[in-house]
Amino acid sequence: MPVLEVRNLSIDIPTGDGELHAVRDVSFSVEAEEMFGIVGESGSGKSVLSQSIMGLLPNTTRRGSILFEGRDLVTLPERQMRRLRGDRIAMISQDPLSALHPYFSVGQQICEAILAHRSLTRAEALKEAVDVLGLVGIRDPEARVHDYPHQFSGGMRQRVMIAMAVALKPALLIADEPTTALDVTIQAQIIEMIDEMRRELGTAVIMVTHDLALLSSIADNAMVMYAGNRMETGSGAAVLGNPDHPYTQGLLASSPAHDTATGRLSSIPGQPPSLLDSPTGCVFAPRCAAAMDRCRTERPPLRHGRGSDYLCWVEGGLSGTQETPAAKPVRPAGLAAAPEPEPVIDVADLRLTYHSGSFFGKAKTTEVLKGIDLTLRRGETLGIVGESGCGKSSLARIIAGLHAPSGGRVSILGRDMAEFGPEDWRSLRQNVQMVFQDPFGSLNPRRRVGAIIGDPFRIHGVCAGEERKSRVRDLMDLVGLNPEHYNRFPSEFSGGQRQRIGIARALALQPKIVIFDEPVSALDVSIQAQILNLIQDLQIERDLSYLFISHDLSVVRHVSDRLMVMNAGEVVEEGTTAEIYERPRHPYTRQLLEAAMVGARAPDHMQEEVSA
């Protein structure tokens, strides 16, 4: 008997705009000790589904059934549901930094979970807490059990969360994006930890993620969700390696992890639909390359494919019908043959030190950058990788002239920044532009998009009135936005579109250098591919030089000619992308690569299929 069996579950959430159909007619089952993966883009309903199983969404309407150990959780009274929660069903959430209470020690928090369900003394509970902390690899658990969450690193806190979740040996563990907030090297350890726990304790695990590569290496079975629908369900190998559904196929092809040559990514055009509508036909129809008339009017049937069940009118999917444009346009000058283009950014021995300290207290110094050397040549993309806090963004801000360095030399387009006069600063602000990670935070929500993109023209007094309008419209067209949306507000655009707005604004003054600081980290795979393609096209079209900062190795690898690996404020390795991938010399680089590989250990045949 399966541990969990979800049958025809639909979940509606009442909102100010109407009923949101977050989950529609989803069915799946999970056996003991199974690793069941749920993938889907942001907003596809993964978290709603998983929290609903825990009974943590009280104001929703649920139809269908959730059978857990023979009981239907949809109709179970809250009192009994509470007894299951934490005891038989446990949860690990996305962000370990915010998921633990900052004011209670980890021991108190674990004991609390134990004491809520077992009649033990405090001392016995504490002993169990120590045991389980040891189990998840916390060193010296007797001492650390009294520490507070802030005394642990992000990865350690996630281990504590796992310890708390498995303390009572639950039958089902729901992990909602357990590694998304962590650095790559730690992600792999956490995934291994969860994998180990389920084998040791026989726990069934539901692993929710948007990371396909990660799932393909560990999931026994998997389900792909799109706009609240279950698009495809089946064995992990089949769904993530040999999918039958057009959406899954498109999703896999969009992932830069599966791209070995620096070519164009295939992408799924368009945006996910609004969950407020209830479409009569297939939800994917507006974006599907294989859509037929029937798809738009009738709900597709569930088909049995090569190793999975999928919702589609077309038999066997449609390999190769996604938007796969011609190979990447060749660069005007062959990089290797021609004489090296001149450097546009030259940085030597760059240092940045922060001094902190109170009026009375002792001053502390933090070295953020410890002597960075860097050269970016015209028309080239230099990728900078490193984990959070290694100084990537500080470096970018100094080069963009937004922050003064504490030492070293920066020269931009052949001029030393230390000797800049007012005119030089002006031209720096035009020639060097930045595009930031957060497409939501970096746009003023109360201003119209046309005005936002036109800002640089206004600030630098380039043009005004009708001319400005028409140039803004040209820019919108250039980055793939509909120029008719000139008067809309940022909130009316999706994440990917907002990132296009950010890029349009950056390109307004025809810069020579663009610094991208994690430009696609907040975006979904299918949208990410669209933006990466846009970035690459623009580079060739406008002869731009890029600094591309990211923690995502597969993305950096896809776009960069050369790579720089940073760790704790230092450059540990530098070279062409191919060199570094094939022959990493520094142990830290190897560690990063290996960590990324755990995720990308996709079946070999798929690699061939995509690169062919």
Binding site: A90, Q94, D95, S98, A99, H101, Y103, Y148, H150
Partner: protein
């Protein structure tokens, strides 16, 4: 920890010292001749001169200030110009009423405001929440003396008209004469001093609680299978205590201002009414004494809040950022 405390105490001493200098020189440059005031309207010039000598007012200003500081440090705040009593004695006589008023009001507004805020935040949009919001709106939009008058009218004048006394107004019974009697007599002053703050604390608690209840760690607490009561009152309230403490530290400073008005309205013989009398009669030693006392309390209250902070927040306690 000890270092931190020493630093705070040192800083407090510095603040008090500066305050004393400020208030002393302020009065020195102020118009009016204190010697004449003390000697009385009909005193002769010679008598006034005599008084001036006695009070040490003839010395250079810095010497006067030096005397003042030395005397203050030994606990002698001088004598009232008005009735020649030691200032310290005057203050000591008035202290119990004011402390009773202030402490009781703080307790009352916490007991009213915090639970109302929590009840509101637990079910936003519910009937309970809307009632709470009405309370907040009324409390923050009427000046506190209007609320005080309204409370006085409802709980004092109306019952009196009907022929009985629900709560007395206008007298203070020492706590030594019986706690119930003390509280009964102070109930109306407390209420009028506490109502506005109760509304402000309800609003603060509601806002903070709403935010905290949306935090991931609250979901974690629910996912552990804890009872909703435990989730709200242990995990939720614990996180709200810190901002509440901060607010309380700031409010203690303004509390004395409110106490002055309340003591006048209810005719309580406290520090507030003493201050009013002293200002009206230009009784400089008494005014200086009260200002220093108020400064002392504010500084001490802030140290207490800082210590509470350290006790409440393990991130501060264990020396992390």
């Amino acid at each position: 920890m000890i270092g931190f405390l020493a630093k705070r105490v040192g800083f407090a001493a510095l603040v008090l010292f500066l305050l004393s200098a400020f208030i002393f020189f302020l009065f020195f440059v102020a118009p009016g001749d204190p010697a004449r005031l003390v000697a009385g309207e009909r005193a002769s010039d010679a008598q006034v001169q005599q008084v001036r000598e006695n009070l040490g007012l003839g010395k250079p200003v810095l010497a006067q200030y030096g005397d003042f500081v030395m005397r203050s440090l030994s606990g002698d705040l001088g004598f009232s110009y008005r009735n020649q009593q030691p200032v310290l004695t005057l203050i000591q006589q008035r202290m119990p009423a004011t402390i009773s008023l202030c402490a009781g009001a703080v307790v009352m507004w916490l007991l009213l405001g915090v639970p109302i805020g929590i009840m509101s935040a637990r079910k936003p949009g519910s009937l309970r929440d809307r009632l709470g919001q009405v309370f907040i709106l009324v409390g923050v939009s009427f000046p506190s003396f209007v609320l005080g008058m309204a409370a006085l009218y409802c709980l004092y004048f109306l019952p009196r008209k009907a022929g009985f006394t629900l709560f007395p107004a206008g007298s203070y019974k020492p706590i030594g004469d019986g706690v119930l009697d003390w509280a009964w007599h102070l109930f109306l002053p407390w209420l009028s001093l506490a109502l506005t703050s109760a509304a402000i604390y309800a609003r603060l608690t509601r806002g903070q609680m709403l935010e905290v209840l949306g935090e991931d760690y609250i979901r974690t607490a629910r996912a552990k299978g804890l009872k909703e009561r435990v989730v709200v009152f242990k995990h939720g309230l614990r996180a709200v205590l810190t901002p509440l403490t901060t607010q309380l530290g700031a409010d203690v400073a303004v509390l004395l201002g409110g106490a002055i008005v309340t003591e006048q309205v209810f005719g309580l013989q406290g520090i507030g009414s003493l201050a009013v009398q002293a200002v009206n009669s230009q009784d400089r030693p008494v005014i200086i004494g009260i200002v220093l006392l108020a400064g002392f309390f504010i500084v001490v209250a802030n140290i207490v809040v800082d210590l509470l902070y350290v006790a409440l927040d393990p991130r501060v306690r264990t020396g992390a950022a």
